[in-house]
Structures are given as C-alpha cells and as structure tokens.
Symmetry: C2
Amino acid sequence: ALREFIVQLLQPSEALFAGQHIVITAGPTREAIDPVRYLSNHSSGRMGFALAAAAQQLGAQVTLIAGPCQLTTPAGVKRVDVVSANDMANAVDEVIADADIFIGCAAVADYRPEIAVTQKIKKSQDTMHIELVKNPDILAKVAARDNPPFTIGFAAETHDVVNYARGKLERKHLAMIAANDVSNSDIGFNSDDNAMTLLWRDNAGEIQQTQLARAAKQTIAEQILRHAAQIKNNY
Amino acid sequence: ALREFIVQLLQPSEALFAGQHIVITAGPTREAIDPVRYLSNHSSGRMGFALAAAAQQLGAQVTLIAGPCQLTTPAGVKRVDVVSANDMANAVDEVIADADIFIGCAAVADYRPEIAVTQKIKKSQDTMHIELVKNPDILAKVAARDNPPFTIGFAAETHDVVNYARGKLERKHLAMIAANDVSNSDIGFNSDDNAMTLLWRDNAGEIQQTQLARAAKQTIAEQILRHAAQIKNNY
C-alpha cells in the first residue's frame, strides 16, 4: 500500500496529455562570431520552462530542448541543452517523429554569422561588418512535415503584435500561435509575468483569437496547454 | 569589548590596500542590435568578481562596475550594473578621478552596431549585414589620464597569448597586464579555475613577466593584487 501511495504521489496531477509526447523548445540561441563573441537575444527561457513543467503536470511525456539559460529543469522533464539554432534544429529532428505536440517557444536567432572564425578577431579597424545568413526555420519545418504534430508557435513582437502573429500562423501553417508584446517590460522576456493573445484556425478554416490576461508564466503556460488540448480534440 | 570585537570581525582581514580605492570592471557588455537582439561574449564575470572580493579582503574600498552577469556582489563591495560598453565607460568616468588602482577585467565588446533600431528587425532577406563601429577603449582612456591610477589590463586570447599581451601593455601604456589562454576550456571564461601570465614594466622600463599556475580564480585574484601592490610600491 505504501508503494502504491508513493507511485501515486509521483504521478502527474492530471492526465490530460496521458500517453502524449510534447516537444518544447525554450530560451535564446547563441550564434558564434568567433570563440569569444556571439549574437543572441534577451529570451530568459522562463516561458518555455513553464510550459514544460505544466505539460508534465498535465500527464505528458516532455522533451525540453533548451538554448543557453540558467534555469532548473522541471521534475520529470527530459532536457536537451543546445547552443546555436543549427544545434536546436538537429535536436528537434532527433525527437520530432513521435511527437504529438510541438511548441516552438525558443527565441531562435533568425540569422547567424556566415563564417564563425576559430581565432578571436582582432580589432584593427574603426568599423567592421558581419555578414549574416538565415538560420533554419525550425517551426516552419516541423509544421511542414508529412504527418506533423500539433504545432504551436510564439510571436514576441514590439509592435503590431496580433497582425504579425496572424501572418506567421498562416505563412508557417501552424495549428496555434501565442503572441505577446515584448515592448512592455512588465511582461515578456525577463519578467515573471506574461499576457498573451492566442490565435488558431478553427474547423472551418477561420482564424479565431482569445486573450489570456496578465498572469504568472506558470498560469499562462497551463492556459495555453488546456486551450491547445481543446482545439486539438476538435480537429 | 563586545562592540570592539564585532568591529574587528567586520574589518578586512588585512590592510595591504588600506585607504586605497580600487575600481574594477567585470563581465561582458551587451551591444543592442534591436530591442530583442544583441552582440555579446562569453565572459562570466567570475574573475572580476573574485578580484573585487580579494581587494576588499585586502583592505581596499572597492567599486565594481559589472556588465550583465548572474553573480552575487561580494560583501563590502559597491557594485554598479551596466549593459553596454558606453554605459561602462560612463560609469568608470564617474568614479575614476580618485581611484588608486584600476583593473579592467571586463570583456568589453570592441564594436557595437552603428544604429540600434527601436523596433524588432523583421527577417525578410536571406542574408543581412550589421555595420559595427568601435566602442570606447575604456582601459586605454584610463591609462592616458593626466594622473592615472595604477592601471591593470587583461588579455583573454586564443593564440599567441603572451606576445599579444606584451603589445597591449605597451600600446595602452598599462602598468601591468594579466594574460590568459581562453582556447583552453579548463581555465578562463566559464571555468572556476584560471592560470595567468603577468607582465609589467619595471623601474628600468624593461618588461618583466611571471607565471601564476592554475588555481581557483579567488587564489589567482589575490596573487594578482599582491603582485600589483609590490610593483606599485617599487615605482
């Protein structure tokens, strides 16, 4: 009886996603310029880690593919650490085949330096320029698979947030997108709180949207997942 | 008697730098590309924070000017947080006039994007380039003051370490430079340990050097400071 009790305690609190594998990317990526310098962005990884924790609590098997961030892995979550967008794309490729849901929450660098030099660049000139090439679009690649998982994107924008999110949902053939305004420093990148607009395509192909009011990232994460489960079941 | 005992406990353990003000820069700087993207480098700030802790222990009044890093301020140290190289240069300007020793341990970004745009850049092209302009050389500016503090630089290099450090010592008119090889991942940027070559100019104008064997950054920090005190007293 004690054994059963302990097993019970270790069970997720709810089995909304029982038997489902959810793959989540989180954090920034870093794109090497040379051995000491890099390009990156202000993503803290907190929203992606909150999603991983909530998905595990809701009964999913969770793989969290994380760029460089100083956060503790949620209990019961399998974490894969990566640095660059290319690393992240490879890590996603390795686990995506059996994923039921993919959540691209990482702030993947859009571009990387064309050539990452192996020796530190010396500053000899008054100006310098870095040639950048586009990184793989992990989210679009996942959504374009033959038998894609339910694919959720994020749009962290500084202006015209909902319009841009709608365009991204359509262009990348996503199932759902969560948009937030990072120009408001009370929510978003390095904040504990977030507020979101969710957009998704309904059965009739119409784009629907709903607001998630400002709340702790953990609360927002659970709301996004419950919403996703409902839409996914209606398909 | 109890009061004296407590005052005693709160005293630094040694008064090598009693009455002296030591200004230390630490960590990386971040140079904004737009509101979400930036250029930075792999400095953890640990060496600079270790120097600040050791300097305080050795009786100095310490101002620590720190770029973005997730480290605890050493007890008794005044910390000023900055983001970009320009911020750091301004923070140094504000406190440098009465400094006895300046230690430029920060990995200041050599270049910053010419224009940091206020809206997030959209990825519309396959390639992109960033124009960079040179940042102020904080270390050289401090050493070039009319009545400069004893100015210590750092050289974190991936190749030809000692030769480059010697060139930097001469070119920037430093009193001393501490050089390390960051291509060895056991020491340097994100390691707990470090190993250094110290170079300085003696009374006869000759460049001297000595090796500090691999040790914890705290130990290396104390060795650098004791060495600096000795050279400074011999001038």
